[in-house]
Symmetry: D3
Subunit: 284 residues, 6 copies
């Protein structure tokens, strides 16, 4: 069973609203290699795990637990990029005004029509999240290799989205997630090491200089690329895998630690033109 | 952030494997009105909540937390229905034998080809789970009404799936979930009461005699239809809504309680013809 | 605007329930070349028509109007094949009974789980109807050629579905629709004749002997393959196209006539295990 | 069977072409809560209706009939927004010109590539209409509750799309449809009243001031929010439900009336760069 | 079996990068009437061909073989439109810069996030290519009629996309493909002539003046609209169909010839912000 | 450009028709890890390749060329499983007969309704092939890792499908493809070795005893698991990668060879109840 404390895993750094940035950041939430995919893939892999060697199951479950918090972090970042991005006129706008027009021209229109200026379970092209993306073939090596590809692609896409916008809300969240994707890449690469693979100098993929991303560097300095956060309220055997020398050429020791201190979950204001929720008129 | 204790929210009652039952039970996992939908819908509604009246957000989040455990319960039930449902012959089966044939003829073929005889994020027709099903329009009344329809449809479908198979693994899980869907129906109906609706004798939907389902009755006797389990490790205002007289014509007082005592998470054996995971030959 | 008289365009011939037949007949309702496609394709083509030569628009609209009645006819036929196809036990079935099992093993499971044993907007494989199938490119020749392919494929598929089941409800409906598809094939082929094509002995497609289908022959004897029913309450120029010699090698004169005398729309009984609708207990 | 008189249910108010507005208005035509959905949902619910209490079936059918006219109204409005929105150069445009470029940059590209500058069965994001959206579970209360959510969401989305553009063609059509959605909300809410629900001050949803929308106000003054148009050529029992006090806090008496006087169906000109239809060169 | 020589079937004419043009040109690659559709449709039709009259099978196969080269041509054209369309900054861009922003605002975001600024198997709206588009009903006349519609629609769409951009890379490729689509239209129309159809003055569809497209005219002057390229290394009976008078009103004799002299396949440079491939750092 | 010789890459071993086997074998043709996916993935990866190190591009292209022949092989095998699987009655079957019924009950109904008893671009569940499956992120390591996962999953699924049916047509084709998938696994694993990975004893995945599959063993004895067939008519640098010691623990030297001697492409008879093609009646 699953328990919750109302804290985000990283801060939502304030900046201006930017619906065009929100649109592309959706890839990190609802895209084929986004956080909803990692969350659901590791959920199915851990629930469907075969065999008695529970350290692998614990590893899959451990990463799954963090991914739920990642989904919430990206949802909240997209909300910050969309909130107050349109005008306030409700109905009585003048005939020659269309207050949302500028915002909407480069936005995902569903952010305004359906989602009340908040996040959606879709990708950057507006395609809804799809269950066929979950890979769980029940062969441990194939599943772990797919996880490595998934985490590598996650980093690759995030560095590209990072280039698309200088918005600080977007870059802070991507910086944190890039480092955590590296940690998870290490987790699955290390698990494959226990099964015989020698990765030599292959990882991390892509072969980029993480120090060029200032939003990443602070987390690397804190060792987050070599850390697995532990969200279990009972025993876990993650450290049977996640310990010792990192499989990455970046070096360092893998360690399991408690989760980071939490950050406040943002509160979104009511917006009149969303007609939300309008309790006042109903209750009185 | 999200924490976990390795316990199921209800027991997996043992019975024979039955791939045809597993196929239809997928609707309860990955269908348009299944547990993955409720889980993701309440996740988005709580993360995207607008306004300062946090008791509604806490209610949405509270039900979301339980739905994660429901997803795991249905995954495990489907696994029980599929495990050991095919023969063991690997490759060297005789020319005139096809050991999985009988099982597969009425099965979802992907249960055997892709999922290694375990659960998939698809519905009873094999259609993958789809993000467009998540309803989150940011108007509190519309969102709550949709949740009521979702929970009502959940019960409706589960009672029909219950009729399709007498398998005890399937019926025990459905019985538990029907009662919990009723509790969640009560939660959202009660929230609408605080906004002015008088449901009179409308609920529960459908209008069925729950006492005819023996697997439900034991949970009704325990009061589970009027209970909200609390998975929060910090404060929650759920009880500001979920208390007092039930909105259902079944009567009773609504109460917030700790989660039930947990049940063991099943362990699935390795199966040779899944080629999983085969650590032995690799490591030695 | 659209008006209605509660009459079916052909009779629902009674026979036994047969969920496996209902499943394949869904292709004729919600398939890529089924009646929902023809209805929506001609709706868009007539609403979006360009140019002043209104006889083409009237022809497209005229066929569209009949297709709405075809959709209702196939819905009602599928309902006849599904109704009373499962047992009546609600909840209190004995532990060792699963009354719907036999019916469901070869059925579309959504007919029982979602649709309360009635029709769905899906094809024979359970794939939902999809708007991308509508062809409307705004070039009159291309649109008409696509319509000819659509009606030809409609006949082709219906003759194959006819072979799959000897159920009389299914065959009567298919027999009627095959002849009407031929009439619509003639309508669009004739329209292309007015634009210069000489079809020679090409039509009808497929090149089959309609007299081998007894359910078709009675309608051919009534001239339905050369008739366009007129559902307009105002003027129409259909007869500017649909008159004179048929483009089909079957011969005969094309004529516009009033619709056939209507047939009763079936009434479906309540079924307890559908929990529908249960008015009694609520109102009293 | 279905009959037709070539009249639109409301006027197409002339304004400038605006492909970006056409793109977002597609949500009202082919979106998950658009007019194609309401049309097909009530079509299936009425054809598949169970039980002898025909007044509910007549209500569902009655709203279905109006929705066909709504689909045609939105198709025609989108056509008005797209027609003449691109230049006329066919092939021989100069090398440095791309006459459609400005129009297309913020348009749905399929409006120009496929649809010859007219409407498509897709939503604002370009996703095709999908049959899985049709809700018809055969439990009268669940079906009616879903219809209430559908109509409420329809209004919610239309008021948001209204904010996105000041184009008069778009706003006139949305204004009319918002009021009619309110009438249909009243219809289904009233039907639930006959089954026991007391809506108190819940409706309409959303809780907005309709008088702020001048395009709505004129229809409210005509009582269209409390009127059900009757498109039946035979008897109907709609008034057994749709009469007496409105369930809405806006007040007033519900009445069944004949349809409004019709408006002309627009004629679109041929456009050379659509190559449509080019009869001249072929026939002579 | 299939053999290859590294040559393009037409030249990639150099011009500026233009991601908005790349986005719409995707329709010609991965759209419902694009080159991937024609390639796969004729592949299935030739592999699944029934009957002994092999000249039809050879015709279908022959066009299929050319379509593989068309797919490669459009992939390479899209690559030319995307390559070097974004800046080079990797990570260390200044805080107030987002080097890809301008390019991406009107682009398909997946071209930058996923595809490393190269082609994707999607259409102009970003919808992935879909197998349901392949038409292969096994009735020769229906299949050939569908092919005629497919090739006609191909020309229609390409002339519209041509109007959307004056980019020379885009127009050169479209000009070549328009003429080849006409040749394939002739191939399938001629095959239908052998089965009895007299097309009179119907073709080509659309009825446009190809001489207005300078990029087409040079290929018409070379006779490419009446030529079938032969990619077979063994015997083929294409000329049993593709010979004699063209079915098009443009006139001329149909002839089977060797393929055109090939053009160089472009080489794309590595781009730092794609992190591709970075061999240097790994090997040393 | 692409050239063709009418020969299959392996024999179609004759056995009885078996529509249920055809249904599951569709996964190998149109499934997420089937031959259409490998064919299109390597096509896009080679066309979109970045950088000057052409040996990688040649490797990707080389495997792509063989995959086209694999697609044709699986199409032909499915055709063999479907051909003559239904009766011959056209229309005039007796009222109490439905000749296709037995075949269809466990078949993909579209094999009979749409495809005239031949192959379709869909998977074992009837889901159409989807372009979103193509992975081409333009980072060489990520692309190669994904290819390794794709080929490993291909073997895994094929060994499971092999278990589902003892039909010799199905098993012969799967046996050949399993060995070739191993060769392609070796190709991509070897390419990753050139970039620094040491696979140790990881491959092949899955970890199965290929000698238990008699249909595989004969190809292993011929060395096909260590061979790359060369379909280029010009130079290729494949051997710069594909040579030396295999990366698989099975051992052996990698070699590039000419393709195997070809096998006859089957000819399918006309079937009356497919109405195909019916040339006779038309021409005379």
């Amino acid at each position: 069973m699953y328990y919750y404390k109302e804290e985000l895993i990283n801060i939502i750094k304030p900046d201006q609203p930017d619906p065009a940035a929100a649109k592309v950041l959706q890839e990190t939430l609802g895209g084929q290699f986004g956080e909803m995919r990692t969350m659901m893939q590791y959920f199915f892999q851990s629930s469907n795990f075969r065999g008695k060697d529970k350290k692998y199951r614990d590893l899959l479950r451990g990463v799954f637990l963090e991914e739920i918090a990642h989904v919430e972090l990206v949802q909240s970042t997209i909300n910050a990029l969309l909130d107050e991005s349109g005008g306030q006129g409700v109905g009585n706008v003048a005939q020659d005004q269309a207050p949302l027009d500028d915002a909407v021209l480069h936005a995902n229109p569903h952010h305004f029509i359906a989602a009340a200026q908040s996040s959606l379970p879709v990708d950057a092209g507006g395609n809804p999240w799809n269950g066929s993306w979950v890979y769980n073939h029940g062969n441990l090596i194939a599943d772990l290799l797919n996880n490595v590809v998934l985490e590598s692609t996650g980093v690759l896409e995030k560095t590209r989205i990072y280039e698309m916008s200088s918005n600080q809300s977007l870059r802070e969240t991507l910086g944190f997630l890039i480092v955590r994707d590296n940690a998870h890449q290490n987790a699955f690469a290390k698990a494959l090491e226990t099964l015989g693979v020698d990765w030599a100098k292959t990882f991390p993929v892509p072969n980029y200089d993480i120090n060029k991303y200032p939003e990443c560097k602070k987390f690397v300095d804190m060792g987050y690329h070599n850390t697995q956060f532990n969200f279990r309220l009972d025993e876990t055997k993650i450290a049977d895998i996640f310990s010792g020398q990192t499989p990455s050429r970046n070096g360092g020791e893998l360690t399991v630690t408690p989760p980071p201190a939490g950050f406040p979950v943002p509160e979104l204001p009511e917006i009149a033109n969303e007609h939300s929720p309008g309790l006042k008129d109903l209750n009185h």
